[in-house]
């Protein structure tokens, strides 16, 4: 060792009493204690550090990945967050959003305690109240509804719910007597989930075994920037690329190149909304060349060949695809050369294991059934080459066992209320829908159902995040009592009557299913420091509210608080609470593939969540579940609702041309709102200055918005890079900065998501534009999905 410049002279320095962070040190001793002892008299310190340091595991909530985190708490302050090396999603890594989370915790714009509105709605005049007052008031309102016999007039809109939270909300609302527990899924992942349900029969997002895949086709799945579980995808991608002996190939099919397209081995710009045609053309080539998995197709699938449907010869997948999706036909639709389609098909079928990836969010929703049909097509493509439930293919998510929830106490008011039609029309007005978050506004304004009297918003900011969110403000006029659980005064909370701030994820108890790898696991979010402000976990709050309500609602929640609820719920995960707390997670590592046709295949993989069609272990190329669901609607009725194919094609993965909003001549571009790795999908991230600073790395911007247009086209049209431009759709217009980029189809423009906030805090407010504002606010008539990606725009110089 060198004597000079030696960075640390040990004896002079400090002694460490226990473990410390650093990649190697974390596993067994997640709780470390680092203390410095006094230096000997007359000697200089070289490294000065904290006197007290703790490492506390928790789970990130800056995006839906749910990465394990180790919080380094120094003298009571969270100074650094590291990825937990134990956590299978992130394997010790942490993305910029997770790294920047201390700025969320210490954000000066956080609400310091519960607030009650005193001025007009939206005036921003509040008075602080106590939590007991808040509990009393909410309980009183809900009791009032129940006393009037209309418990269904309470509604809860929720965003990201983790672990038990969704079931907890459903239970709470059920106990009160309302069916209106409405998820924001219809804005993003619902199409993918329905597509999987109608084919594979599980109401889940597919998971992908990228680690073992040789060939990956990504259909608009911006897997390296913002998928459902970006961190997991990145880890899989990285392993596929260079973690093993043979490097896998990724082909990214998307109008926008983005980071994924740039990193992929091949980027194929495709006409937006035509992925289904491309997928089916690939299937066409695979079927024609006989490269499909005949064992799977023959023995474990339904509807590949034509079949007899009560005497009628129903068209199967094979003949439908062969008849309609020749690569040359697809070339006309998609703009992808037929030779490329054939080549990709050959590569896909010839390099097993191969997998096609669908976007977890965005991308798929295109105004009509096309999104759903595309999701179905992707599943069918995977099934066709036998990649379902196979190494390097599609994995099906399993969960940790949880005890059954105790039965709800018998309650006639609640039971009657639960039977009411949902306020969002899911399952009724939208026959295929599970949730229709964005439709709530219109349906309230148009008084489609009963009035909503109590609206609760959990991690829901529809005014910002729903297309045309301004309509929610209008709808709020008809709702007498609105409660928001937002940590910040966001766009929607501004119009609430009560804001009951929830602590940040670093200060609260919550569990988290580990999703994305297939195998079950549970993560535990725990307060890494005492809550900084007078906040209350929404779980705790609702339990308190239930307790404050009249029987029998109060009896439905036999738990003291949300933490004890969790302890109760997680009793079967295979470890004790202390271990869970110490490690921050528990899991059953390793995905166990079910052999085709065996009981686990039938119970867990194929058909698990089918409600109406047989759970027989057959993968549906021809969706029986879908045909049961729309059994009431004949072909004409379906057409009246906007279906563009008739007959059996409706139940097969098919291609439906997108119904664009806006005339192509007047509005030549399709508007696409993209989520970036930096700002992510959650509104609060926009108020983290660090994330704002790195937000526009892909184009070299910082803080603010821009709109991306094809470079050559832009120059042709007389635009210069960084011009100020108006982006105008039939629904409104926005002014922002134009950036000319090379990797972009000339008929598409992009606006990054999560800017253009009108509230939240000093860093987010009035910065950039929100592309969703000018997007189509309509809902797809079958599924109730928000259909906003069918918005056409024009741009011109400001």
């Amino acid at each position: 060792m060198p004597k000079k410049n030696q960075p640390l002279s040990r004896r002079e320095f400090l002694k460490l009493s226990a473990g410390v962070i650093g990649a190697t040190a974390t596993m067994g001793m997640a709780r470390g204690l680092l203390t410095s002892l006094e230096a000997e008299e007359g000697e200089t310190y070289l490294l000065q550090t904290s006197t007290h340091e703790e490492i506390i595991p928790t789970v990130c909530l800056m995006c839906p990945s749910g990465c394990g985190m180790l919080a380094r708490v120094v003298d009571g302050n969270v100074v650094k967050l590291e990825g937990s090396p134990m956590h299978p999603i992130n394997l010790g890594a942490l993305c910029p959003k997770g790294q920047a989370a201390p700025e969320l915790l210490y954000n000066p714009d956080r609400l310091a305690g519960p607030l009650r509105r005193v001025g007009e709605r939206g005036s921003g005049e509040w008075e602080p109240i106590s939590w007991s007052q808040a509990i009393e008031q909410v309980a009183e309102k809900l009791n009032g509804l129940r006393d009037a016999g209309h418990p269904e007039r309470a509604a809860l809109l929720y965003g990201e719910t983790r672990g038990q939270m969704r079931k907890f909300f459903e239970r709470f609302m059920a106990a009160v007597g309302s069916p209106n527990t409405i998820s924001h899924d219809s804005l993003n992942i619902e199409a993918a989930k329905l597509g999987t349900l109608f084919t594979q029969g599980v109401y889940e997002l597919p998971n992908y075994d990228l680690e073992n895949a040789s060939y990956v086709l990504s259909f608009g799945a911006n897997l390296l920037e913002a998928g459902r579980v970006p961190e997991r995808m990145v880890a899989g991608y990285s392993y596929m690329r260079r973690g093993r002996a043979e490097r896998g190939k990724i082909v990214h099919i998307d109008p926008r190149q983005g980071v994924t397209g740039a990193k992929a081995d091949e980027w194929i710009p495709i006409k937006p909304g035509t992925d289904a045609a491309l997928i089916l053309a690939i299937a066409n080539v695979i079927i024609k060349t006989g490269q499909f998995d005949s064992d799977f197709v023959r023995n474990y699938s339904f509807g590949f060949e034509d079949f007899d449907d009560n005497g009628r010869n129903a068209v199967g997948f094979k003949s439908y695809v062969l008849a309609n999706f020749d690569p040359r036909q697809a070339e006309n639709i998609t703009g992808v050369p037929a030779t490329t389609i054939s080549r990709i098909a050959g590569e896909f079928a010839g390099n097993p294991p191969a997998v096609a990836i669908m976007p977890g969010k965005g991308g798929l929703l295109s105004g009509n059934l096309n999104g759903l049909a595309t999701a179905m097509a992707i599943n069918c493509l995977n099934a066709l080459v036998g990649s379902l439930e196979a190494p390097g293919g599609v994995l099906t998510q399993r969960y940790m066992p949880c005890p059954d929830w105790p039965d709800l106490p018998s309650d006639s008011i609640a039971e009657a209320g639960r039977e009411a039609e949902r306020v969002d029309g899911a399952g009724s007005f939208f026959p295929l829908g599970k949730h229709a978050y964005q439709a709530v506004a219109d349906r309230i304004i148009e008084e489609k159902t009963y009035p909503v009297e109590v609206l609760m918003l959990y991690d829901a900011n529809p005014v910002y995040e729903a297309p045309g969110g301004e309509r929610f403000i209008q709808a709020f006029d008809k709702i007498p009592f609105i409660v928001s659980f937002s940590t910040f005064e966001d766009e929607t909370a501004q119009y609430a009557d009560l804001i009951l701030p929830e602590p940040t994820f670093l200060e609260r108890w919550q569990d988290d299913h580990i999703e994305g790898l297939g195998y079950p696991g549970v993560g535990l979010r725990q307060p890494v420091i005492e809550p900084l402000l007078d906040t209350m976990n929404t779980g705790d709050f609702l339990i308190e509210v239930a307790h404050a309500m009249h029987a029998p609602v109060s009896e439905a929640f036999p738990w003291e608080d949300y933490k004890s609820l969790l302890q109760d719920r997680l009793v079967d995960v295979g470890t004790d609470w202390e271990t869970l707390q110490e490690l921050g997670l528990w899991l059953t590592p390793g995905y166990r593939f079910s052999r085709r046709g065996n009981p686990r295949w039938i119970d867990e993989v194929i058909g698990r969540d089918r409600k109406l069609s047989p759970r027989d272990g057959y993968f549906d190329f021809y969706s029986r579940e879908l045909s049961c669901l729309v059994a009431d609607l004949d072909g004409d009725a379906r057409e009246a609702m906007g279906a563009q194919v008739s007959g059996d094609a409706f139940f097969l993965p098919h291609y439906e041309p997108v119904n664009y909003e806006g005339d192509e001549a007047e509005f030549p571009y399709m508007l696409n709102v993209v989520t970036l790795m930096s700002l992510g999908p959650y509104s609060v991230a926009a108020n983290l200055p660090t994330l704002q600073e790195i937000s526009g790395m892909v184009v070299g911007e910082r803080w603010g918005s821009w709109v991306e247009l094809n470079h050559d086209l832009g120059h042709e049209l007389g635009f210069e890079d960084k011009d100020q431009v108006w982006v105008e759709s039939p629904f409104g217009k926005l002014k922002t900065k134009l950036r000319l980029v090379e990797g972009m189809r000339p008929d598409v423009i992009n606006i990054p998501h999560n800017q253009g906030h009108k509230a939240i805090g000093r860093w987010a407010k009035d910065r950039g534009v929100n592309g969703l504002e000018i997007m189509n606010p309509a809902s797809e008539p079958f599924t109730g999905l928000a259909s906003f990606t069918n918005t056409r725009v024009k741009i011109y110089k400001a």
Partner: protein, 242 residues
């Protein structure tokens, strides 16, 4: 003698910028206002650059255009131009090959920032500031000596700062080995960016140890160095895509 060095596999890197932000929280770099940021005054010791950052090379015509991304910490050059020009030895290369920066001695002449071809050196155009709430997440660690202040210590205005390969982590790891009365192992020292790398694209280690992963990767046929022709001999080695 250790010779610390980093390898970045661009085939794995996904340009997520986790490294940049891990660095920020590890090393207390301040956030600057949007106006300052527009002037390029953001301080990100590790930055991710869309390449080519300037139109010095063609990235091809649509649809065959291809952006690349380069994550760029300090290169800790073996022949660092910054060290040569510093009039007061506020920046120097220590015996383990880390190019360090002493905030207590820097006179703010910005010669090093001008001399560095990689733009890894950042000048404090103003006093770094955090709101009282935000200041709570600052790391209390600092490397101090007689007339020297290094590491994550909050910098005064008017001095230059840069990536140190998280020098305080090295010192901490050594101290820990010492307190546990055992040999220090190179694997115990990992800079924050390497630790957080989402794609596991970064490798760090002792180049003089032929068995270290980093030094094995550095001999890969894909290995290259950025701006090799300016003669800086960077110790951050990249592995090509594809």
């Amino acid at each position: 003698m250790t010779n610390w060095s980093m390898v970045v596999d661009l085939d794995k890197c996904v340009a997520c910028q986790g490294c940049s932000i891990a660095c920020r929280f590890e090393n207390n770099t301040p956030v600057v206002s949007p106006e300052e940021a527009a002037l390029g005054r953001s301080i990100l010791w590790n930055d991710v650059l869309p390449m080519p950052i300037n139109p010095t090379e063609d990235i091809g015509e649509y649809p065959h255009s291809r952006r690349r991304y380069l994550t760029r910490p300090c290169m800790h050059c073996e022949n660092p131009p910054c060290v040569k020009v510093c009039p007061v030895q506020a920046t120097y290369r220590d015996e383990e090959g880390i190019v360090r920066q002493n905030y207590d001695r820097c006179i703010g002449c910005r010669f090093c920032t001008v001399a560095c071809p990689y733009g890894v050196r950042y000048f404090n155009w103003e006093t770094p500031s955090w709101s009282p709430e935000m200041a709570r997440h600052l790391s209390p660690e600092r490397v101090v000596g007689q007339g020297s202040l290094e590491g994550p210590a909050v910098r005064p205005k008017g001095v230059v700062e840069k990536c140190t390969f998280c020098i305080h982590r090295l010192q901490k790891a050594r101290a820990r080995a010492e307190s546990e009365e055992r040999e220090f192992r190179a694997e115990e020292y990992t800079p924050a960016c390497v630790q957080t790398c989402t794609a596991k694209a970064r490798f760090f280690g002792d180049m003089d140890d032929v068995t270290a992963t980093a030094s094995i990767l550095a001999s890969s046929p894909r290995a290259f160095r950025v701006l090799e022709d300016v003669g800086t001999h960077p110790k951050v080695i990249y592995l090509q895509e594809g």
